[in-house]
């Protein structure tokens, strides 16, 4: 079939070529390298639009095209094709990744203008886009894993982009290693698929699921969830995300907010056949999502570092998506809907934060901001659009997408619903706090800081993303997004709600208003201290949230320190016991041979002697046998 939709590989090839070009071209490309990177991403976006239009022009039942490029490897009982599936779900992701990705490329031209390694930065961004597209287009779990690890590598390289900072290098390592813990789940899941189904082709796995025993399906679901937790910074593998803010801000916007960190949600939705078949696995997904959405929100309330506050918020919002994905067919489409709108407004706000940092000499402490609305009007207005979207101001994108998740959560279980409702209130609180501390109130600028608006190359992407944050809700018009995704994730059957949907919506609004009011009363009406109160002056709750609910301490106590002790123990054991016992024997020989060596002046002769002895023994033995 010669079809334009068979050319999905072009989407990946363009940014991949960009990355290779930028990595291998010499210094002379420093002047225009960033344009190559941006053009590669933009071209991929244009191609994405072309394909999307072609896909939308087809019948609803005919919107999945799988293209087999070549056989990646075929050995023993394993055959993996380098195959891409372009369907409704991947098409949406392609647009999100390349669209937001291109805007962030453009923005980075300005943001990284003074960095001597800007060309390499764009190479890594291109590498990321290519990997992320591989991840969402993959028709096989192993190809997906290729993209999965590729984005992990790009994330590692970009978090640690400023390698001379030990904190950045440490954060990069932490992110990669914690992700690898999740990958362990992915690899074992893949092994389990092969052992039971004999394939890792996503479609074939889906068709094979009904034949599997309940235990195997649940195991598959939980293992994939472990992978998702790593990539999407969900409890218990959440601790790397806040440290990842060490990377340049455009990286935080693209990788650690809009796209890569949502890959876990994608994985769950893409594996819907597995999760549909296991209630236990779904329940685990809901639990992880609920806990993370509250933990992330709590962290967002206490951080004074604008990027870390936003990172806490990202965790929390992904928690919403994960929770929605755990609700099964009723929630898959809404998880993706919120994923897309969140991609818009969170990228918008991260880039806004970057613009603020750009204007204040790379200060990230919100206590040193205040009253920036006049100094940076475009940043302020675009940020405000993102702010209103995330708290769910009626009519804006976040309002529609979050409302749907809360509604579905109530349909599943009242307590889970109440958890999402509480989360909405806390979201309103921490975002209002962030908004007030940054843009409103009085100046708390440090000496010598003269905030100024960013150049057009940075503000134009902000304006575009702000517009998307406001208008993203149109995807829900006439149930477009649920109908569009239905062939991939199944039809939703509506649960009975405890109260009418409209009452629920009003309830959410009341909670949001309460959150905003509380934040306004705390930070808007009162003066914000230019220095954070010390830990002992704040309540235990604030203290805990500041320390990310002691997630790092838990990891340290449960994993890092025991592993360190194990390493030291094994090293000592190896030196003393193993080398001692085995080496003792060898040592015996060594002493003997050294004795000989001394007699004969040199090791060579001792070796010759041993060899000769061996040969003589052999000859004697052979002779003896032959004669016998």
């Amino acid at each position: 079939m010669n079809d334009v939709l068979d050319t999905a590989w072009v989407l990946v090839a363009l940014p991949l070529a960009g990355a290779l070009l930028l990595l291998t071209w010499g210094k002379e490309s420093d002047r225009f390298g960033h344009w190559i990177g941006t053009a590669a991403s933009a071209a991929s976006f244009v191609w994405g639009v072309v394909l999307f239009v072609a896909l939308a022009g087809r019948d609803a039942g005919d919107r999945s095209v799988t293209t087999n490029l070549f056989t990646w490897f075929d050995a023993g009982r394993v055959r993996v094709d380098m195959a891409l599936t372009y369907d409704q779900l991947s098409a949406l992701f392609v647009l999100l990744i390349t669209g937001v990705g291109t805007l962030i490329h453009v923005y980075s031209i300005g943001y990284m203008a003074d960095d001597p390694r800007r060309r390499r930065f764009f190479a890594f961004l291109n590498l990321f886009v290519a990997s992320m597209l591989t991840l969402v287009l993959a028709a096989d779990y192993l190809v997906l894993f290729l993209g999965w690890e590729g984005v992990g590598l790009a994330s590692y390289l970009l978090i640690g982009f400023w390698q001379h900072k030990p904190s950045a290098a440490a954060a990069a390592q932490k992110a990669f290693v914690m992700n690898r813990v999740g990958d362990l789940g992915m690899v074992i899941a893949i092994a389990l698929m092969l052992a039971h189904l004999g394939t890792t082709d996503i479609d074939r796995v889906a068709t094979g699921v009904p034949a599997l025993s309940q235990g195997v399906v649940t195991a598959l679901g939980l293992l994939l969830l472990l992978g998702a937790c790593g990539k999407s910074a969900q409890v218990p593998l959440q601790a790397w995300l806040l440290d990842a803010m060490e990377g340049p801000t455009p990286v935080s916007a693209l990788i650690h907010a809009a796209t890569m960190v949502t890959a876990g949600v994608y994985l769950i939705v893409r594996s819907s056949a597995i999760f549909d078949a296991s209630e236990t696995a779904r329940l685990a997904v809901v639990a992880v999502g609920l806990v993370t959405l509250l933990v992330g929100a709590a962290i967002g309330c206490a951080k004074d570092d604008i990027k870390k506050a936003l990172a806490g918020s990202t965790m929390s919002q992904i928690g919403y998506m994960t929770l929605a994905a755990g609700l099964g067919p009723a929630g898959y489409a809404f998880a993706i809907f919120h994923l897309v709108t969140h991609g818009f407004f969170k990228a918008n706000m991260f880039l806004g934060a970057g613009s603020v940092m750009h204007g204040t000499g790379d200060d990230v402490d919100m206590r040193h901001y205040g009253a920036l609305r006049t100094a940076m009007p475009i940043t302020f207005f675009t940020f405000a659009a993102g702010y209103l979207a995330i708290i769910g101001f009626p009519g804006l994108s976040g309002f529609w997408s979050k409302d749907k998740i809360i509604e579905t959560a109530f349909g599943f279980n009242v307590w889970v619903g109440l958890g999402t409702l509480l989360g909405a209130g806390v979201t309103a609180f921490y975002m209002t706090r962030l908004m007030v501390m940054t843009f409103l109130g009085r100046k708390r600028w440090r000496d010598g800081v003269h905030p100024h608006e960013s150049p057009a190359v940075m503000t134009v992407p902000l304006v575009v993303l702000a517009a998307l944050s406001v208008l993203g809700g149109v995807m829900l018009l006439g149930h477009w997004i649920t109908d569009w995704l239905a062939p991939v994730v199944g039809e939703a059957h509506h649960e009975e709600l405890p109260v009418p949907a409209i009452v629920l919506t009003l309830l959410v609004l009341v909670v949001v208003v309460a959150g905003v009011a509380l934040a306004w009363a705390t930070y808007g009406r009162r003066e914000v201290a230019a220095d954070a109160p010390a830990d002992r002056e704040v309540g235990w709750w604030t203290r805990a949230a500041r320390h990310e609910l002691y997630g790092n301490a838990v990891n340290d106590a449960l994993v890092v320190r025991p592993t360190g002790q194990l390493v030291r123990g094994v090293t000592a054991f190896d030196r003393q016991v193993v080398a001692g016992a085995v080496g003792g024997l060898a040592g015996l020989f060594r002493d003997a041979s050294q004795g000989l060596g001394r007699l004969q002046t040199g090791f060579v002769r001792s070796y010759a002697l041993v060899l000769f002895a061996g040969a003589a023994a052999l000859a004697a033995a052979l002779l003896a046998v032959t004669i016998a």
């Binding site: 079939m1 023993g76 690890e149 074992i188 193993v578 090791f603 033995a621 032959t626």
Partner: protein, 511 residues
């Protein structure tokens, strides 16, 4: 005669280098000879009929008639893969070694290079030998060049390390010798004595005789490979060797151990191999985790890289003794891939050590600032070593894990822990040496030069190429693995509930 020529070319080259008058000509002569060997090996590859499989390009002559010893060579997919590993690695290793600072000379002396060529020739012979006695002789002979490469040309502590290496490996060799003699006895008992693999395979061994002989061979190979707890000689030897020696020793010669396990342990003693497989698999899994933990704790760059190899050899041995075609194909591929990534790691750390004058990880810091290409190469070698998808070792490691998992889910899962630990030792190494503020002590370091980049680039290209398209090599490997698997007769467990295939037919057309 092609295989004889292939083995003789570097051997003769080595002899010429050793006997001819000294001079700078030797360096380029060594590069030329190894380059020619590479070209000749590619000709061998071209002559090899991949679709037919089996032993090809065979040569056979009677050597010691009363003992049934033959000069018999031949390659199948397994041997060919390892011959190619040898011939591809050596020229670039020699190129990288040209300016090695040696105890007695500044820059590589002809003697040093001569031993490398001799080692290459012997290695090729080992991988081609189809007569057990010939194999044994060549196997033991490889000890001599390594002994001198470490003992005469190594760094501090070389004498002790060389003796340690020799004694350890000789012990293994002597145990194997007993088994080789035993084979003769049995073969003579059965009629005409013969050391030919094909004849020995026909022998009817008693259960316990077979197991004893298996143990004799296996011990020697387990020391070579090296398998826990027989691994301690490797970091000691690598810690005192030049980077080039380490590459040849770990990437090529140690593969004789895993090669031998497949060729001789599985090929001649299939019943005993199956009998021993649970124990060996457990030892292999211990190697994976244990080697990785030691690597995390290591402070000496050379020992660190050697210890990562203990972990990787664990994977290779695991795949072999899981006895599935999937895991065995993975193991054979892994032998080559491990050779490539370890070569990069040894050579880059070698340059680092030479420039800094210290092998201590803590002696570095922030090197990325002044040597971006060097740090990039270290990272590529490291990412390859941690089996990042898109790099060659990933496919092989995955095949080993899933193949093992299909028979032993628990061992397969524990082995998978290696992917987390590998990330820790690789990224820790990179972070401690390359990132952070520039340490004042490394100010004198410079970035990789053209010669060094030229030596490393082929490995990088191969690592990425084989990461995305390993199939041509797998096509070479598979028939050999199928044959061994057929001999052993265990094979791959069927998927419990195979997913319907019909689905994929329609979906390639879209649905």
């Amino acid at each position: 005669m092609m295989l004889t020529a292939l083995a003789l070319l570097p051997l003769v080259g080595g002899l010429v280098l050793a006997l001819a008058p000294r001079g700078d000509w030797g360096r380029w002569f060594a590069v030329a000879v190894t380059g020619a060997t590479l070209a000749l090996s590619l000709a061998v590859l071209a002559r090899y009929d991949v679709d037919a499989g089996g032993m090809q390009l065979t040569e056979q002559r009677t050597w010691i008639e009363p003992m049934g010893v033959h000069y018999a060579l031949g390659v199948d997919g397994l041997g060919l893969t390892l011959v190619l590993l040898t011939t591809v690695l050596t020229p670039f290793v020699v190129l990288a070694a040209l300016r090695d600072r040696l105890p007695a000379s500044e820059g590589a002396s002809n003697g040093y290079l001569a031993w490398m060529l001799v080692l290459e020739g012997l290695a090729i012979g080992v991988f081609c030998a189809t007569d057990v006695f010939l194999f044994y002789v060549l196997f033991e002979a490889t000890l001599v060049p390594i002994y001198f490469l470490i003992g005469s040309y190594g760094t501090a502590g070389r004498g002790r390390a060389a003796i340690g290496f020799l004694v350890y490996n000789l012990v293994g060799g002597l145990v194997m010798l007993a088994a080789v003699v035993g084979l003769y006895v049995l073969s003579a008992d059965a009629g005409e004595p013969s050391y030919l693999l094909t004849d020995l395979q026909q022998l009817d061994l008693g259960v316990w005789t077979e197991r004893l002989l298996f143990v004799g061979f296996f011990l020697a190979f387990a020391i070579k490979a090296p398998l826990w707890p027989l691994h301690t000689w490797l970091p000691d030897a690598a810690g005192a060797a030049t980077p080039a020696t380490s590459v040849l020793m770990v990437s090529v010669i140690d593969k004789i151990g895993t090669f031998g396990m497949i060729r001789f342990c599985l090929g001649l003693f299939p019943g005993a191999s199956e009998w021993a497989s649970p124990v060996v698999m457990v030892l292999a899994v211990i190697s994976i985790v244990y080697g990785a933990l030691l690597a995390i704790g290591a402070d000496d760059l050379r020992r660190l890289v050697a210890l990562t190899s203990v972990s990787h050899f664990g994977f290779i041995v695991l795949g072999v003794f899981a006895l599935t075609t999937t895991s065995m194909a993975g193991s054979v591929l892994y032998m080559l891939n491990h050779g490539l990534s370890t070569a990069v790691l040894f050579l880059v750390t070698g340059v680092m050590i030479a420039q800094r004058g210290s092998a201590d990880v803590a002696a570095f810091g922030g090197v990325q600032r002044i040597a971006p290409i060097m740090s990039g190469m270290l990272l590529i070698g490291g990412l390859s070593s941690l089996s990042l998808p898109g790099m060659a070792p990933f496919v092989s490691e995955l095949l080993v894990i899933v193949g093992t998992f299909s028979r032993e889910p628990v061992l397969g899962s524990i082995a998978a822990l290696g992917i987390v630990l590998a990330a820790v030792y690789v990224l820790r190494l990179y972070r401690r040496t390359m990132t952070g503020p520039l340490s004042p002590d490394v100010g004198g370091m410079r970035d990789l030069g053209t010669r060094e980049v030229a030596a490393l680039s082929p490995f990088v290209v191969l690592i990425v190429a084989l990461g995305f398209y390993p199939q041509p090599l797998l096509d070479v490997i598979e028939p050999a693995v199928d044959e061994v698997s057929h001999v052993v007769g265990v094979g791959d467990p069927e998927p419990r509930t195979p997913a319907p295939v019909a689905q994929s037919e329609t979906h390639e057309e879209g649905h």
